[in-house]
C-alpha cells in the first residue's frame, strides 16, 4: 500500500542543510554537526534520499594523507525542488485563515515530489 508521508523533522533539517549551498559537496560529519543528528539517524535519511534520487552520493577523488576517502553528498535538481518546497514559509493567506482548509501548499508540493511508501 502506497501512501504519502510527510518529511520528518530530521529529514527536513538534512534537506535544509544541503539546500543552504546546493552546489557544494558535504561530508557526513559536517551534516551531522549542522543538523545535530547522530550517525545512526543521519545515514538512514541520506540513504533513503539517495534511493529516491533526491541526493547524490560520491566518494572523494583523492584521499587526504593518512585518511581514507570520504563519502560526499549533494542535492540533485529534484532534491533541490523538494527541499525548497519543504522549507518554504507558510503562505500569509493560510496563516490568516483565508486559504482553503487542508495541507499547506508548500508541504504538499514537497510530499508530492517524492512518494514514500509505508
Amino acid at each position: 500500500m502506497t501512501s504519502l508521508r510527510a518529511f520528518s523533522p530530521q529529514t527536513v533539517s538534512v534537506l535544509a542543510a544541503l539546500c543552504a549551498e546546493p552546489s557544494v559537496w558535504r561530508h557526513g560529519y559536517t551534516l551531522a554537526k549542522q543538523t545535530g543528528l547522530k550517525s545512526g539517524t543521519l545515514y538512514p535519511i541520506l540513504l533513503r534520499l539517495a534511493d529516491r534520487g533526491l541526493v547524490v552520493a560520491s566518494w572523494e577523488d583523492e584521499a587526504a594523507p593518512g585518511r581514507p576517502r570520504r563519502h560526499l553528498y549533494r542535492l540533485t535538481a529534484t532534491g533541490l525542488a523538494a527541499a525548497t518546497a519543504a522549507a518554504a514559509p507558510e503562505p500569509t493567506a493560510a496563516r490568516e485563515g483565508t486559504a482553503p482548509r487542508g495541507r499547506r501548499p508548500a508541504r504538499l508540493a514537497a510530499r508530492r515530489a517524492v512518494r514514500w511508501t509505508g
Partner: protein, 425 residues
C-alpha cells in the same frame, strides 16, 4: 574508550557485508569516523553505524522469522511424536514430518538463490508466513487423522499404497511451498496484485469444496455442515467454484497488469520456466507475437490460476482434515456431523473418516492442476495480442493499446510487489 572504538570499527567493518549492495554506506561511516574527535564521540559515531547496519539488513526480522519457524516446527514435531504405537503408519508419519521440514528449509534456501529473499512488502511476508503455517498445520492434521485409520490400513499389502500416498502428499507440499516462495520473493515474476487475486479466487474454492466434502472424498449424505442445502447443490457450487474462480483470477490478472513500463524484473531460470510451462500448457497452437509484455501478462494469468487452485485445495483439505482430526475430541462437533448415529456406532464412522481423508490427496492434485489450466485459458482469452488473428485482422479490430498510467508510469503500487518499501526516519 579508544579500545572500544577500535572494536566497534572492526565490528562495523565485518558487519558491513550484511548490507548486500549497500556496503558503501557502512564504509562511509567508517571513513568519516576518522574525522570525528577520538573518544566517546567517535564511539557513538561508530555505534550509529552499527545501528544502521542492523536496521538496514533487517537482521532482527530475519532472526525472528527463523526462531518462529523453529518454534513451529518443534511444536508440530512434538505433537506428532506422541506416544502412538510404532507401526507402519507411525513410521510414515514421522518420515513425512521430517521430510516436510527439510522441504520447507531447503526450498527457502534454494529460493533465495533463484529469486532472492522474501519481498520487502508486508503482503509478501504475510503470504509467505501463511503458506508455511498452512503446510505445517496440514502436516499436523494429516498425522492426527492417520492415527484414526482402521486395522485394514495396517495389515500386510497396505504399505505400498501408504508410501505412495506419502510421496504424493510430499510432492504437493513441495509444489505449494515452491509457488509460495517464488510468488513472494524479491525477484518474483508475479506481481503482488496477481498473488492477491489468486488467493482471493482460491478462498471460495476452498470453502465450497469443504462444504461439499467435509469428511473426506466420500458421498456421505448425512453430514450437516449446511443442513438446509442439498448435497447435490453443494456439489454444484463446488464445481462452479473450481471451474470459474481460476478463470476469473486469470482474466483479472491479465487485464489489471500494468503496461510494459512496469514489467516485473526477470527472475532467472524459474521465470523462464514458468512462462514456457504456461505457453506449453495453454497456448499450444494459439499463436502469440512473443512480445515481452504478452508473455508477462500470460504469466500473471497462469500464476493467478495456479495460486487460486493451490489456495483452494490447501484450504479445503486443511479444513476437512481439521474437522476429521477433531472428531474424537469434540463431542459437540461429533453430534453435529453424525446426528443420526449412536455413540456405539461412532467409532466405525470415525475410522471411515480417517480412511476417507486419504481421498483428499485427489483434491490436492486435481484442483491446482485445474486452476493452472483454467487460469491459462483465461489468460489466453484476456490477452489482446493473442486474440489477434495472424496477418493483422479486420480494420478496427485491433486490440486496445495499453495507455500509460496517469502518473506517467511511476505508480506501481497496486500491482508491483517489487517496489522497495522505504520510509523516512
Amino acid at each position: 574508550v579508544d579500545r572500544l572504538s577500535r572494536l566497534a570499527a572492526a565490528a562495523l567493518r565485518w558487519c558491513a557485508r550484511l548490507l548486500a549492495g549497500r556496503t558503501e554506506w557502512a564504509e562511509a561511516i567508517l571513513a568519516e569516523a576518522e574525522n570525528v574527535p577520538a573518544g566517546c564521540q567517535r564511539l557513538a559515531w561508530l555505534g550509529g553505524g552499527l545501528r544502521l547496519v542492523f536496521r538496514e539488513s533487517m537482521i532482527m526480522r530475519k532472526a525472528g522469522a527463523i526462531c518462529a519457524f523453529a518454534a513451529a516446527v518443534g511444536w508440530v514435531a512434538s505433537l506428532s511424536w506422541t506416544r502412538s504405537p510404532v507401526n507402519r503408519v507411525t513410521v510414515a508419519n514421522r518420515v513425512s514430518v521430517l521430510v516436510t521440514v527439510a522441504l520447507l528449509a531447503g526450498l527457502w534456501l534454494a529460493g533465495r538463490r533463484l529469486v532472492g529473499p522474501a519481498g520487502a512488502g508486508r503482503t509478501q511476508r504475510l503470504v509467505r508466513a501463511g503458506g508455511y503455517a498452512t503446510v505445517l498445520a496440514l502436516t499436523l492434521g494429516k498425522v492426527s487423522v492417520e492415527r484414526m485409520r482402521g486395522p485394514a490400513d495396517l495389515g500386510p499389502g497396505a504399505g505400498g499404497l501408504l508410501w505412495t500416498g506419502e510421496a504424493l502428499f510430499l510432492l504437493m507440499m513441495a509444489i505449494f511451498t515452491a509457488v509460495v516462495i517464488m510468488a513472494t520473493a524479491q525477484r518474483s515474476p508475479v506481481t503482488t496484485g496477481t498473488l492477491l487475486r489468486g488467493i482471493a479466487a482460491g478462498l471460495p474454492i476452498g470453502i465450497a469444496v469443504f462444504l461439499f466434502l467435509p469428511l473426506g472424498v466420500v458421498r456421505y449424505q448425512a453430514s450437516r455442515v449446511l443442513p438446509a442445502v442439498p448435497q447435490g447443490t453443494l456439489g454444484a457450487f463446488a464445481w462452479v467454484a473450481v471451474l470459474v474462480a481460476p478463470a476469473v483470477a486469470g482474466v483479472l490478472a491479465v487485464r489489471r497488469f500494468p503496461s510494459s513500463q512496469a514489467l516485473p524484473p526477470a527472475a532467472g531460470r524459474a521465470s523462464v520456466f514458468s512462462a514456457r510451462l504456461g505457453m506449453a500448457f495453454a497456448l499450444y497452437g494459439a499463436g502469440t507475437d512473443g512480445s515481452a509484455e504478452s508473455e508477462a501478462r500470460i504469466r500473471q494469468g497462469v500464476a493467478a490460476g495456479l495460486v487460486a487452485g493451490l489456495t483452494g485445495a490447501m484450504l479445503a483439505v486443511l479444513l476437512g482434515t481439521a474437522t476429521i482430526a477433531l472428531l474424537p475430541h469434540d463431542s459437540q462437533l461429533l453430534g453435529w456431523l453424525y446426528p443420526h448415529l449412536s455413540r456405539a456406532a461412532i467409532l466405525p464412522a470415525e475410522q471411515g473418516a480417517g480412511s476417507n481423508a486419504a481421498g483428499y490427496l485427489l483434491l490436492l492434485l486435481a484442483v491446482p492442476f485445474a486452476g493452472f489450466g483454467i487460469g491459462s485459458i483465461g489468460a489466453m482469452m484476456a490477452t489482446p495480442d493473442l486474440a489477434r488473428p495472424p496477418g493483422g485482422g479486420p480494420p478496427g479490430d485491433d486490440p486496445p493499446t495499453a495507455s500509460p498510467p496517469p502518473d506517467g508510469g511511476t505508480d506501481r503500487s497496486s500491482d508491483n510487489g517489487t517496489e522497495p518499501v522505504v520510509s523516512l526516519a
